[in-house]
Amino acid sequence: MAVLWGTMWCMVALSVLYLLVVVKGPSIWDRLLAINLIAVKVTIIIILFASIYESAFLLDAAIIYTLSGFIGTIFIALFFSKKEKKQKQDEKKEGKSIWRVY
């Protein structure tokens, strides 16, 4: 049991570290990576919690967590990649920065 609790605390500590990356990270991609990592950590926390209480139905929450978190991240990433590209091209064409998303 101690291992589970210890791992849980470890995950929380890691999330805090990832949060530093989210705040500091120079580009939007660093931040998105950190979101992804935090999502995994949160999933693991939930699984550990369910494991401690020995209740299988709590794992449903972990599954929906994983799926929805990933879909959000993927959507943002796909959504902005094209935008960024277009913006760079426009900037090149006009020779100045037009607008910045991040």
């Binding site: 209480y53 209740s55 139905f57 709590l58």
Partner: protein, 121 residues
């Protein structure tokens, strides 16, 4: 396990703090999109407050057949908060649509600029 009084108390304090952080954000920011974000933040604080009612360390979800009232979380606030979250989503969607329409028209999402430009037209 624990007396429980301290637990509820601390979580309540945190919820109030976040509630007022959201309120502060509403007052301090001029951007409408951020205002909508802060409305969501305030709603989350309220929901957290509801869920923390009667919280105790070691409490489990109210699912199962032979439940003992002392060991499970309060089911009523949970049922109500699902309602609140869904209503929040609907209202946020309406808000964002209005905002996009306004931004399309006035090319800005600043409260003051929007007010000025709206009363001009």
């Amino acid at each position: 396990m624990n007396t429980g009084i301290l637990n509820t108390d601390l979580i309540e304090l945190i919820c109030i703090l976040v509630f007022f952080l959201g309120f502060y954000g509403l007052i301090a920011t001029t951007n409408v999109i951020k205002s909508i974000v802060f409305l969501w933040v305030m709603e989350m604080a309220v929901i957290m407050f509801f869920l923390s009612i009667g919280y105790n360390i070691g409490i489990v979800a109210p699912i199962g057949t032979d439940l003992v009232p002392g060991q499970v979380a309060d089911p009523l606030p949970q049922a109500l908060m699902i309602t609140t979250i869904v209503i929040g989503l609907a209202v946020t969607a309406v808000n964002i649509t209005m905002l996009i329409t306004l931004v399309r028209k006035h090319k800005s999402a600043n409260w003051d600029i929007l007010r000025k430009k709206s009363s001009e037209s």
